[in-house]
């Protein structure tokens, strides 16, 4: 591996981040660069893909996951520095409907989603494997309507594809992150799932065990800085911690 | 039927400008390698589109640039025996043979599979694939395939080149029958003068993309000017004759010509049939007096009409035999020794056996 301070300081911080963070993180990285002159190279992919790559020795300095499971898996394998792990962001899942002016609905115990769907589909990310889908399924289960809805669920490989299905009107309803729903006119958020109905949706971040880039800590810290906060919030995320420094 | 061909075409800097008309019968295209024979045939078939020209077979205009006619190949109803056999590799020999039948209107299906199979001796091969045939076998199947398509015009590009003599002499009479009985017009490319002499009604000699000579076979063959085209060995005249009678004891046939009687090996035609006999110039001996005690059976009184050029070793002597012309080729030494000159009377001697079965052909009786 290369050492030598000149090369070191030039090396960008490599961040492996869940793809849904792209807009916010790109913005944060830009401001970080203009403030410090240092760059971050961010690789966006599915959390599972990124985690497996880190398991195989990927040259990542920071991992930002869209769910806790993969972060835990890496922590168990001692592939991240546990002391640096923190829950960075929080998100919500919402029920969306096709169209600009769909009527808001009240989500409660046993509400008749299946009836509203009629013979339409409920678009979700894969309910057993993709985080947004997992949360959605948990919520529907705790509301006691999973059994009725399950046969009408159309699962996609990522949450954006679910959004697209609703946006195109292929599916009348869908469950996506609040951050996704905000951006398009073609769908209306008709309800937000109660936070109690599903495990907390958090985006943990940590420095990898193999990272030897001294800027990694700085960037991770910067993610929690007030400067970064705005970027995240503009995309609809709730920032969980703000580091006192900076 | 007449065949009327006029075409111009160009390959790179090779120019072809051919035009000829031929009456019913077999039209032989004759010429050296690369002269343009295949190109002409391809144009008749519609496989080469000449830059300009006109091709009329019988009343049917197959191609005419001035009138914008260009009948597609499949509508021309030709049968084409290619220079290379071009059998369909995925079909058995039988399927190859029958291929054209699918497309021939039922009314015109003249040839029977069994007849053609017998003629070409391919019964043994029917269930083989073309890849399992010898060169000559392929060619025979290709001939059969074209025949069985019941075409109204048959194009044959050196069809017998890869066949042995025995096979050739079986197929030649069949082509004659097609010409005379079925009255199927045939355009025939061959390098073999004896084939051409026997079969052709009309000879079209092509040289370097132009027509060097067209005319009835007898005329072209006995014209010393065309000898260089044909090779001197094969030059000769074609004598019209009529079958007089067959000698059952000897197996000889007596023919009557304008100049006297001829004996030839048996001709398979009833007395009274018109035939034509090719007599090669090199086979005839001239004698000043009527010779005696010769094994040669044919001795006819003739008159020398004209001596050809005396520059070379041999001299072509045109003689008149009755009202017909014959050609004799002798050495210049003989001309001098015997004092041969125009107007001189002498005798033409030639052997019966020198006239081969393949030199005698029946005459298409109803030319139009």
């Amino acid at each position: 591996a290369t050492t030598g301070t000149a090369a070191e300081s030039m090396r960008p911080v490599v961040v492996f981040a869940a793809a849904s963070l792209k807009n916010a993180l790109d913005e944060v990285a830009d401001t970080w660069k203009s403030e410090t002159g240092k760059t971050a190279a961010i690789s966006y992919a599915g959390s599972a893909q990124l985690a497996k790559q880190i398991q195989q020795g990927a040259p990542a300095d920071i991992f930002v996951s869209a769910n806790i499971q993969w972060m835990t898996a890496l922590a168990d394998a001692n592939l991240i520095r546990k002391d640096t792990a923190r829950d960075l962001l929080r998100n919500r899942i919402v029920l969306i409907a096709h169209g600009r002016n769909a009527k808001a609905v009240e989500i409660g115990e046993g509400f008749d989603l299946a009836g509203r769907l009629a013979d339409g589909k409920l678009a979700m990310a894969m309910v057993d494997s993709v985080p947004a889908g997992i949360y959605g399924k948990a919520a529907l289960t705790s509301l006691g309507i999973w059994g009725a809805v399950a046969p009408k669920v159309a699962q996609t490989d990522n949450v954006r594809a679910a959004l697209t299905l609703v946006a195109r009107g292929e599916a009348p309803y869908g469950i996506v992150y609040a951050t996704d729903a905000a951006a398009t006119d073609a769908v209306t958020v008709v309800a937000t799932f109660p936070e109690r109905s599903h495990p907390p949706i958090v985006y943990p971040a940590a420095i990898t065990a193999e990272s030897d880039n001294s800027d990694a800590g700085n960037f991770l810290a910067y993610l929690s800085s007030p400067a970064a906060r705005g970027s995240f919030e503009r995309q609809g995320f709730a920032v969980l911690q703000t580091s006192p420094t900076n | 039927m007449t065949l009327d061909v006029a075409l111009e075409h160009r390959f790179g800097n090779f120019e072809i400008a051919i035009s000829f008309a031929a009456p019913h019968g077999i039209t032989a295209l004759f010429g050296r390698s690369g002269a343009g024979k295949t190109t002409v045939i391809n144009a008749i078939a519609g496989l080469v589109k000449p830059r300009s020209g006109r091709i009329v077979a019988d009343a049917a205009t197959l191609f005419d640039t001035s009138r914008g006619i260009d009948l597609p190949t499949h509508a021309r109803r030709i049968g084409y025996v290619f220079q290379e056999s071009r059998l369909f590799p995925h079909l058995s020999v039988r399927q190859n043979l029958l291929y054209g039948r699918w497309f021939a209107p039922r009314a015109v299906r003249q040839q029977r599979l069994d007849d053609v199979v017998d003629l070409l001796d391919v019964a043994r091969l029917l269930d083989r694939q073309p890849g399992e045939l010898s060169g000559g076998e392929k060619q025979r199947v290709a001939i059969g395939r074209a025949l069985l398509a019941s075409p109204r015009l048959l194009l044959m590009d050196e069809p017998l080149a890869s066949l042995d003599e025995a096979r050739k002499s079986e197929i030649l009479p069949y082509l004659e029958r097609l010409r005379d009985e079925v009255r199927l017009p045939i355009v025939y490319v061959s390098h073999s003068i004896s084939e051409v002499a026997r079969l052709a009604t009309t000879i079209v000699a092509i040289s370097d993309g132009r027509v060097a000579r067209v005319g009835p076979t007898a005329e072209v063959m006995s014209d010393p000017d065309t000898f260089p085209l044909m090779g001197r060995q094969e030059a000769g005249a074609i004598l019209p004759a009529k079958v007089l009678r067959h000698d059952l004891h000897d197996g000889l046939t007596e023919l009557v010509t304008s100049g006297g009687r001829l004996l030839t090996p048996r001709v398979e035609a009833p007395p009274g049939t018109d035939v034509r006999v090719r007599i090669r110039a090199r086979d005839v001996i001239l004698a000043l007096a009527e010779p005696q005690g010769l094994s040669a059976l044919n001795i006819l009184p003739v008159t020398i009409r004209k001596l050809g050029s005396q520059d070379g070793v041999v001299v072509d002597v045109a003689i008149t035999c009755g009202t017909d012309d014959l050609l004799v080729r002798v050495t210049r030494r003989s001309v001098e020794r015997l004092g041969l000159a125009a107007g001189k009377s002498c005798f033409a001697v030639f052997k019966s056996v020198a006239v081969a079965r393949r030199d005698i052909s029946t005459v298409d009786a109803k030319p139009d």
Binding site: A154 | E84, P89, H90, G100
Partner: protein
């Protein structure tokens, strides 16, 4: 074998069904397109060629998205098909078949096209002289001669269809029993920690299926080719 769950079995059956129909139905179009590209000389040939290759060039997700735009219930063609023929593709296995067909079309066309280009035009000329018009020439000469190529194209398409994932899931999503093919199932397993083993079982199944199909096709192709062999 009970080491596959019923759902997984369903996915395997569905994958086979989707791949089979995708291949079969696209085959005639593949032959026509290959013929046009190999022999045709028309305006827009390069355009057609580009279009055919598009699914290869675009990320599958994009192809899936385009399919959704065109063939979804609200899509131009989708709506038409639905109203005219009652044919719904969205969220149906037929849609999965369409996605698989589109994705494998370039492979199929290229294989067939190569075969067509290898046919000796002299044989087709011979057929013409024997009275066969273009259509008959094609059916009786060209088509049999390109059979090995068609077979190659079909098997390539089948294999590709068996592995197609991105466009399929984007277009028809993943509905167990309807559109959940083996690749979707595999993908799902790979997304969760510890799912690798389950994924590998499915991988094995699809490999076995596809390699069997492949080997079968080789046998058939060899037989066909031997018949035509010695030109």
């Amino acid at each position: 074998m009970d080491w596959l769950s019923p759902d997984e079995w369903t996915a395997v059956r569905l994958s086979l069904q989707v791949s089979f129909w995708a291949t079969l139905v696209s085959l005639p179009f593949g032959v026509l397109t290959a013929m046009a590209l190999a022999r045709g000389n028309f305006w827009g040939k390069q355009l057609l060629n580009g279009l055919v290759h598009l699914p290869l060039i675009l990320p599958p997700v994009v192809t899936g998205y385009i399919l959704l735009l065109l063939f979804g219930r609200r899509g131009a063609i989708g709506a038409f098909l639905d109203q005219t023929f009652g044919l719904v593709l969205a969220f149906r296995w037929t849609g999965a078949a369409l996605a698989a067909a589109v994705m494998s079309f370039p492979l199929m066309v290229r294989a067939i096209r190569l075969a067509i280009e290898a046919v000796d035009p002299k044989l087709e000329q011979a057929a013409r002289t024997l009275g066969a018009n273009s259509a008959w020439t094609f059916v009786t000469v060209t088509l049999p001669l390109i059979l090995p190529g068609i077979l190659a194209g079909a098997i390539l398409a089948f294999a590709k269809a068996m592995g197609e994932f991105g466009a399929t899931i984007t277009f028809v999503s993943n509905i167990p029993g309807e559109t959940q093919t083996v690749p979707s199932a595999i993908y799902a397993f790979l997304q969760v920690p510890g799912g690798d083993a389950s994924a590998m079982r499915l991988v094995l199944v699809s490999v076995v299926v596809a390699v069997t199909a492949l080997a079968l096709s080789e046998v058939v192709a060899t037989r066909v080719a031997r018949r035509i062999a010695a030109k």
